[in-house]
Subunit: 254 residues, 2 copies
C-alpha cells in the first residue's frame, strides 16, 4: 500500500525516539528519507538531539536537512497524566515552534500527532459512542478533553488550523488511538475499541503526507468493529483504508 507514495521525500520526525516515532522510523516506505529529532539520542545516524521548543535547534536541523518536504510532529510528554508544565512547555510551546519553523524554512506540510484523549470525556458516557446504536464521534464533536495532556493537544490542533489558514501550511491533525509496542489488541478491553495497528498507523501517516487537503482533523484507529470514532472523513479526505480490526483477534482464554 506504500508503493504509490511519492518518491524522494524527506520527512523530519520529532519525538522519533518515542513509541510511535520508532514505528514510523522503521516502517515508513524506503523511499522516504527520514530525519529524526529527539531529546534522547537514538542509534540512528540521521537523528539529531535537541528540544523542539528551541527555535535555534529547529533552524539548525532544518537548514542541515533542507529541503524538508514534511514534518511529522510527535514530540511531547506522551503520558495522559503529563503535568501541566510539560503540556504548556514541550506540548504547546513545542508545537508552536515547530509550526513556525516550518513556515520559516518553507516546509509545506506538517502532520501533527493529536490524541483521542481530546474526546476522552465521552468515555464516561453509557453507552459509549459507537456502542448500542449510539453514533460514533466525528471530528466535529465538541471536544471533551479528559486531561491537561488532551488540553495541550487541542491547543496544538488550534495552532495547526491557524498556521494552515493564515500561513499556507498544509496541516493534518491525527487523533491517534492506541499504538502499542506489542501491537496486540487483545491485551486490554479498551484496545478492542481504540487499537491502531502498526501497519494502519504507517498507512495513515503516508496518506496524511500525500493528501491535498489544507487542514483536517482525523481519528487514527484501525477498522475495529467497536471503535468509538468515525473514520468517514479519513476515508474521504485521505483515502485511509485500514486493514486491521481488533474484533478479528479473538482474546486468548485464560
Amino acid at each position: 500500500m506504500h508503493s504509490s507514495f511519492s518518491t524522494n521525500k524527506t520527512v523530519l520526525i520529532t519525538g522519533v525516539a518515542g513509541g510511535i516515532g520508532q514505528v514510523l522510523w522503521s516502517g515508513l516506505p524506503d523511499e522516504v528519507t527520514r530525519i529524526g529529532l529527539d531529546l534522547q539520542p537514538t542509534p540512528a545516524a540521521q537523528t539529531y538531539v535537541g528540544n523542539c521548543t528551541d527555535a535555534a535547534v529547529l533552524d539548525r536541523v532544518l537548514t542541515l536537512s533542507a529541503p524538508v518536504d514534511a514534518l511529522v510532529h510527535l514530540a511531547a510528554d506522551p503520558r495522559v497524566e503529563s503535568p501541566w508544565a510539560a503540556v504548556h512547555g514541550t506540548g504547546i510551546e513545542g508545537t508552536r515552534q515547530v509550526l513556525a519553523a516550518a513556515v520559516r524554512h518553507g516546509v509545506p506540510r506538517v502532520v501533527y500527532a493529536s490524541s483521542n484523549h481530546v474526546v476522552g470525556g465521552y468515555e464516561a458516557d453509557d453507552p459509549l459512542p459507537g456502542q448500542n446504536g449510539r453514533p460514533r464521534l466525528t471530528a466535529q464533536a465538541p471536544p471533551r478533553p479528559d486531561s491537561l495532556y488532551a488540553v495541550g493537544k487541542l491547543a496544538g490542533e488550534a495552532l495547526g488550523r491557524f498556521y494552515a489558514e493564515q500561513h499556507g501550511l498544509r496541516v493534518v491533525c491525527l487523533r491517534i488511538g492506541s499504538v502499542r509496542a506489542h501491537d496486540d489488541p487483545t491485551r486490554a478491553d479498551r484496545l478492542r475499541r481504540t487499537w491502531l495497528s502498526h501497519r494502519d498507523l504507517l498507512h495513515l501517516t503516508v496518506c496524511s503526507l500525500r493528501t491535498a487537503v489544507d487542514f483536517g482533523i482525523y481519528y487514527g484507529v484501525s477498522a475495529n468493529t467497536h471503535r468509538m470514532w468515525s473514520l468517514a472523513n479519513a476515508r474521504a479526505d485521505l483515502g485511509y483504508r485500514p486493514v486491521d480490526n481488533a474484533a478479528a483477534h479473538p482474546a486468548e482464554t485464560a
Copy 2:
C-alpha cells in the same frame, strides 16, 4: 433585568482595569460584591494588583475575599495582534492558574472571556456567515482562529471544559463580540455585525453567573440583524435576551 439575580454574591473579576472589566465594574447590579485583580492599579479600593499567572497572588486574593462565588476571568493581552509570549503566558498559563485556583478555593463558577476571533477565519468567506442566506455560526462550528490570540482563547475554552468535567467547576465561555468604550455600533462597518452593547454585556454576564449549565460556549453579541453568530444556545441555556440591535442605529451621514 438584573433584579432577579441572586443577592449577596461575591465575584472576583480578573483584568478589571481593561475595557470590559470597567463596564462590568461600574455596571453590574449593586447587590454583586465586586473584587478586582489587575496588573494595573485602579482607583477602586477593592482591586488587588497582581498577575493571575502567579498562583500565590490568586491564593492571597481568594483567601482575603473568601467566600468568592464566581470568577469572571477577563485578564489577557486584549490585542488580536498579541505576541505569542503574551498568549502563551498571560493567556494560556493565566487561565490555567485561575481555573486551578477556583478549584483550590472552592469557587464553584467561572465565566471565561473567550473571543469571537476563534471563528474569525470565517470572515475571509464570501458570503459571510449570517449573510445572503448563509446560516449563522453555532458554537459547534469548527474553530478557525484568525490569530495566535484566538488560539490562546481556544486553549482557554479547552481548559474550561476540562475543569468543568473533571473538577466539577461550572464554566461558561463567552465568545465576546465587539465591546467599545463609545458603545456606538455605527463607528465601523464590522460593528454592525459584531457589536455587543454595554447593557447586553452586563445582562449576558449576569445570565452566565446564574445559569445551571455545567459547561457551555456562547457568542456574546447584541441582537444585531447582521450578526454572524447564532444566539440560539445562549437564549436556550442562559436565558439571554439582548435588547440592542446595531441595525436600529442609523449611520450618520457624512
